[in-house]
């Protein structure tokens, strides 16, 4: 555990020194506060402001997760910094898990910063604390952690550029798999085609489980069971992805 924490802390410290990350965060905050002016001009209604804010946090965190997940782990291998680490009494699994948790900490920091900006904006607009918005942001964070685990998994066997392509594709597929199987059932697809749809459904992460923005926007509380199930799903999927990543990384010649 100590080695994982040392690597996680180091990863966090290094990534928060990255000017690109600051650029994205500053841009995201400007985007969120831009709604104050946009609200006066076109949005008018609070749900629109909330939607704009939550989607902004989601979008910018997805960019950060994609950027960190596909570069941080890969760079350490590609630039051979990992030589120093693996030659110490550190296992490859500890290194990989340390990187993952370090990047999760970075995402937690960016999510927290953007959440504060969002909560301040909503408080300014409606004069209250948007608890449901905060719950939606938490669910988004779970999705981003899963997204990050997938990016690291892909980085164990492909280049940084290909990881961006694969991870982006999975991000897209992850949002359509539940609609895909529902449509397949609605139009009564059978046989091999339906099996293929089912394989898609079970293999790719179902990222729609984490999307409760619409509920938060319309002041509808997310059922506690949905949150618990989403959390369990994220933990299970991340565990699977990290286990597979460790298995591949253990076999990799570096």
């Amino acid at each position: 555990m100590r080695n994982i924490w040392t690597i996680a802390r180091n990863t966090f410290k290094l990534e928060v020194r990255d000017k690109i990350l600051y650029g994205i965060i500053i841009f995201a905050i400007l985007y969120i506060f831009f709604e104050i002016f946009l609200g006066d001009l076109v949005l008018k209604e609070l749900p629109m402001v909330k939607s704009f804010g939550l989607t902004g946090i989601y979008f910018f965190n997805a960019i950060i997760a994609l950027f960190l997940g596909t570069t941080s782990f890969f760079k350490d291998i590609d630039r051979k910094v990992v030589y120093f680490i693996i030659s110490k009494p550190v296992s490859r699994a500890q290194f990989l898990l340390g990187k993952f948790f370090g990047l999760c900490l970075v995402l937690l920091m960016t999510t927290a910063v953007l959440a504060v900006a969002y909560i301040a904006l909503i408080a300014y607009e409606q004069g209250g604390f948007d608890v449901l918005g905060l719950a939606a942001i938490f669910m988004q964070y779970l999705e981003m952690a899963l997204f990050l685990a997938f990016a690291i998994f892909v980085s164990t066997f492909s280049s940084s550029l290909l990881s961006i392509v694969y991870t982006s594709a999975v991000f897209f597929l992850g949002h359509i798999v539940s609609a895909l199987i529902a449509d397949a059932q609605a139009v009564k697809i059978t046989g091999v085609k339906f099996i293929l749809v089912e394989i898609f459904y079970y293999v790719f992460p179902n990222l729609e489980k984490f999307d409760v923005r619409n509920l938060a926007i319309h002041d509808v509380a997310t059922p506690a069971l949905s949150v618990v199930l989403a959390l369990a799903y994220a933990v299970a999927y991340i565990t699977f992805l990290l286990s597979a990543s460790v298995w591949i990384f253990n076999k990799k010649e570096i």
């Binding site: 080695n3 690597i7 180091n10 290094l14 051979k80 910094v81 693996i86």
Partner: protein, 247 residues
């Protein structure tokens, strides 16, 4: 004592290290060979960056990749790469924490320890500068420094003098000789014969993954120049291979 037993590493059906067996128990041992001879591959297998196709490596009777063995060793890779946004001092601390040896000292004692190593390798004044501002020679020195952070019994240095100017080379060789006086054992990979002659007690000549000679430097040179003896040994090996191939 470091023991290699029937060590083989195969890449795409080609043995880059072939049945390498050797016992090393001298203060400074030099692996000498041309580029691509298999020196770096062997060193990477010692520290667990590569897995042998077959054979074993032990340090004092324990597998070299075992945690207990790793705690005893320091490793400097060939052309070291670092986290560019870290300072030299931060990197030393990071390596120390990974070794788990930092608890042996107080916080002040740890900083003093890192600084004394950085002084020893000549980059103390740059300790608080980001590594991205370091020259090639400074990076080489930092790579050497981090290998010393856990007070290792065994040091594995892959081309440690590459990229250093003549003064830097002299200083690093003096550090190695100091380590010898302290009772540490140094394994040195190099293709620079002069460095071996000056620092090593024994030498292993490696060519295309085969160990051609292992023993004292003086016994190997037998009054001749090391370069001359090295060329003769390699040529004799290639001749034998050619004869065997014809038969």
């Amino acid at each position: 004592m470091v023991e290699f037993s029937h060590l083989t590493k195969t890449y795409k059906k080609r043995n880059v290290v072939d049945g390498f067996s050797l016992v090393v128990d001298v203060p400074i041992f030099g692996f000498l060979g041309q580029n691509g001879a298999g020196k770096t591959t062997i060193m990477k297998m010692i520290v667990g960056l590569l897995a042998p196709t077959s054979g074993t490596i032990t340090i004092d009777g324990v597998a070299s990749t075992n945690e207990a063995s790793k705690k005893k060793m320091g490793y400097m890779p060939e052309t070291p790469y670092f986290y560019e946004r870290m300072t030299g001092l931060e990197f030393m601390r990071f390596c120390d924490e990974l070794d788990g040896s930092e608890h042996a000292r107080s916080k002040k004692g740890r900083i003093a320890h890192y600084e004394s190593i950085l002084k020893k390798v000549g980059i103390f004044n740059a300790r608080n500068a980001e590594i991205k501002t370091y020259s090639k020679g400074m990076r080489q020195r930092l790579g050497f420094a981090q290998a010393l952070v856990n007070d290792p019994e065994y040091l594995f240095l892959d081309e440690p003098l590459d990229g250093l100017d003549p003064i830097g080379r002299r200083e690093m060789k003096e550090v190695m000789l100091d380590l010898k006086k302290e009772g540490r054992k140094v394994f040195l990979n190099t293709h620079i014969l002069y460095d071996v002659e000056e620092t090593c007690d024994a030498v292993g000549i490696i060519h295309e993954g085969h160990l051609l000679y292992a023993g004292p430097v003086k016994a190997f040179t037998a009054g001749k120049h090391l370069e001359e003896r090295f060329m003769e040994t390699v040529a004799a090996h290639e001749k034998t291979l050619a004869v065997n191939a014809r038969q």
